[in-house]
């Protein structure tokens, strides 16, 4: 089965994307054989108060019982905005959200900000997954109102160094995957998965040799990127590069393990 760890609903303000509601995303999942999707609300990137986006997502999911069966919602949390701890509590205990997505580049703080570290430690203590996107969109054709910054893998390491025992999903890996030996070891020892939507995961068989086959999981970055490229990167692997058992780990096994389902 396929479990997509990197999908979203909501509106991207600079460009029209289709399939950005629970209903239209579910149609994509049904068409392309995806059983479950982890989703967050893109609106939370742009709202100052991200909890409004989490409430929108919850309302949408409970509006149709099919949604609650096929989606795993993550909350968008901004640790430098008032009430984030209460928001996180509401999202997990009332809304049933299994993880958080954080957007330091858009919310204008550093990963080493004490507030961010406190948030990630809190997530760790609540057994929640922390998800970070290397980029939401390619900065080259970006809107003049959008940010220019993109991360490579090493840019995420400060938070993993600060809280190495949290669970991390690294999404849309679009730039360099180079790490020094210490950071590589940290990733290998930690609970980290990188999704297959990003352009830097195209040589997946080589990355698995370096990081381990337990470190990658299927992702689409829908609705922004096309729906099938992340799947192709797994299914086009040759038997000599990934046997069926390994492919199942990539399709859903590694994500299941991290999500505890």
């Amino acid at each position: 089965m396929l479990l997509d760890i990197n999908a979203s609903v909501g509106h991207w303000p600079f460009q029209q994307y289709n399939y950005n509601t629970c209903g239209t995303l579910l149609e994509r999942m049904n068409k392309f054989g995806v059983s479950i999707s982890v989703i967050g609300n893109i609106n939370g990137i742009f709202y100052k108060n991200t909890q409004s986006a989490n409430e929108e997502l919850y309302a949408e999911i409970i509006s149709d019982k099919r949604f609650s069966e096929r989606f795993i919602p993550f909350a968008v949390i901004n640790p430098i905005y008032a009430g984030w701890l209460d928001d996180m509590e509401t999202c997990t205990s009332k809304f049933g959200m299994k993880g958080i997505r954080i957007y330091p580049m858009y919310h204008d703080y550093e990963l080493t900000d004490p507030a961010c570290i406190e948030l990630v430690k809190t997530a760790r203590d609540k057994n929640l997954v922390v998800a970070l996107h290397n980029r939401m969109v390619d900065s080259r054709p970006r809107s003049w109102m959008d940010i220019q910054t993109e991360w490579s893998l090493k840019d995420i390491m400060p938070i993993i160094r600060a809280v190495p025992d949290a669970k991390y999903m690294i999404l849309n890996a679009a730039n360099s995957m180079d790490l020094d030996d210490n950071d590589l070891e940290l990733i290998k020892k930690g609970e980290v998965v990188i999704d297959t939507s990003g352009r830097s995961t195209s040589k997946l068989w080589e990355l698995m040799k370096r990081f381990g086959s337990d470190k990658f999981a299927f992702g689409t970055h829908s609705p922004i990127l096309d729906y099938t490229t992340g799947q192709l990167r797994i299914e086009a692997l040759r038997d000599s590069e990934a046997d069926e058992k390994t492919k199942e780990l990539l399709r859903s096994g590694n994500a299941n393990r991290m999500l505890g389902i």
């Binding site: 999942m29 995806v34 099919r66 096929r70 049933g96 352009r199 609705p223």
Partner: protein
């Protein structure tokens, strides 16, 4: 474990587990809504010509390109080695073309070559077209030494018309490049061809054939496709690493189904995945993957059987 078993047996199938206790009470669901989808069968269903590929530029020699092509059922690679220096001397472009000729000899049934040149050197460029086309190359690929609508380019375009050759031109369109918001400095070569430059050349030479490179290569593809709407001699290839979900459908809407080429520019999965994910019907998919490019090749008697 199959999917149905997964849903029946796993904790996920228990009502409310995904969303926690607040949603307990939802009924169990099977995957009856989900289609059986075998992505590799879909991939292999279509004949494909990769309209934009390079050798020794991104990922290594032609064996690497052919290996990726084998994975994804790409029958032919239209391959070039553009000179990416500002100078682009005749010695540089001849050496680049020799690389391509070697690749063609290594994989004669898979690789179709494109000749690269620099219009600054008119005589040498025209001689190079003859040398390479005589050895079986099928088109022209140029980079950013000279804009497509620069008068220096006109003799090359006229030769391409004579020989029924498509000109694949490197292009860009983003902040500071392409008619708007020019205050931004992208640090890109100012001689890079922009959508406006393609339109200018297409108007001057309506009988020529131009290929706007890599709509997914980092440019503003909405801007480009809208610019090309009324110019039937401008084609676009959908290659590049930025496989945005709406790109193919947008290009189809603005340019129609006959002027789109499947291409990768070494972003193989994105090239194929973008088309599989699009709203295109079967006829349109066959066109973009294979038939549109083959129709262009046919004009010069160079088509694939």
């Amino acid at each position: 474990m199959n999917r149905r078993k997964f849903f029946e047996n796993s904790a996920l199938s228990s009502a409310g587990i995904l969303l926690g206790s607040s949603l307990a009470g939802c009924s169990r669901r099977t995957e009856s809504d989900m289609a059986a989808y075998n992505i590799m069968s879909e991939v292999m269903k279509y004949r494909k010509i990769d309209a934009h590929e390079h050798v020794d530029l991104h990922f290594g020699g032609p064996e690497v390109q052919v290996d990726y092509a084998d994975r994804l059922g790409i029958e032919r690679l239209v391959l070039s080695k553009p000179v990416i220096t500002y100078t682009g001397t005749p010695q540089e472009f001849r050496e680049a073309n020799d690389h391509v000729l070697s690749a063609m000899k290594l994989f004669p049934d898979r690789i179709m070559g494109q000749v690269t040149l620099n219009p600054v050197y008119k005589k040498e460029s025209l001689e190079e077209i003859k040398r390479c086309i005589d050895q079986g190359m099928v088109g022209i690929k140029t980079y950013y030494q000279v804009k497509l609508n620069d008068p220096l380019f006109f003799p090359v375009i006229e030769k391409a018309i004579d020989l029924n050759l498509l000109i694949l031109m490197h292009a860009n369109c983003q902040l500071g490049m392409g008619g708007y918001r020019m205050k931004y400095d992208t640090h890109l070569n100012p001689n890079t061809s922009l959508p406006e430059d393609f339109v200018d050349a297409a108007k001057r030479y309506p009988e020529a054939m131009f290929q706007y490179a890599h709509t997914g290569g980092g440019g503003d593809w909405e801007y480009a496709c809208k610019s090309f709407r009324d110019y039937p001699n401008i084609y676009v290839d959908t290659s590049g690493s930025n496989n945005e979900a709406s790109m193919i459908d947008f290009a189809l809407k603005y340019m129609g189904e006959d002027r789109l080429f499947f291409g990768t520019d070494s972003s193989y999965y994105q090239g194929v995945g973008g088309i599989l994910s699009s709203k295109m019907n079967e006829v349109q998919r066959k066109k973009i993957f294979f038939e549109n490019y083959n129709a262009v090749l046919r004009k010069g008697g160079r088509d694939v059987a």
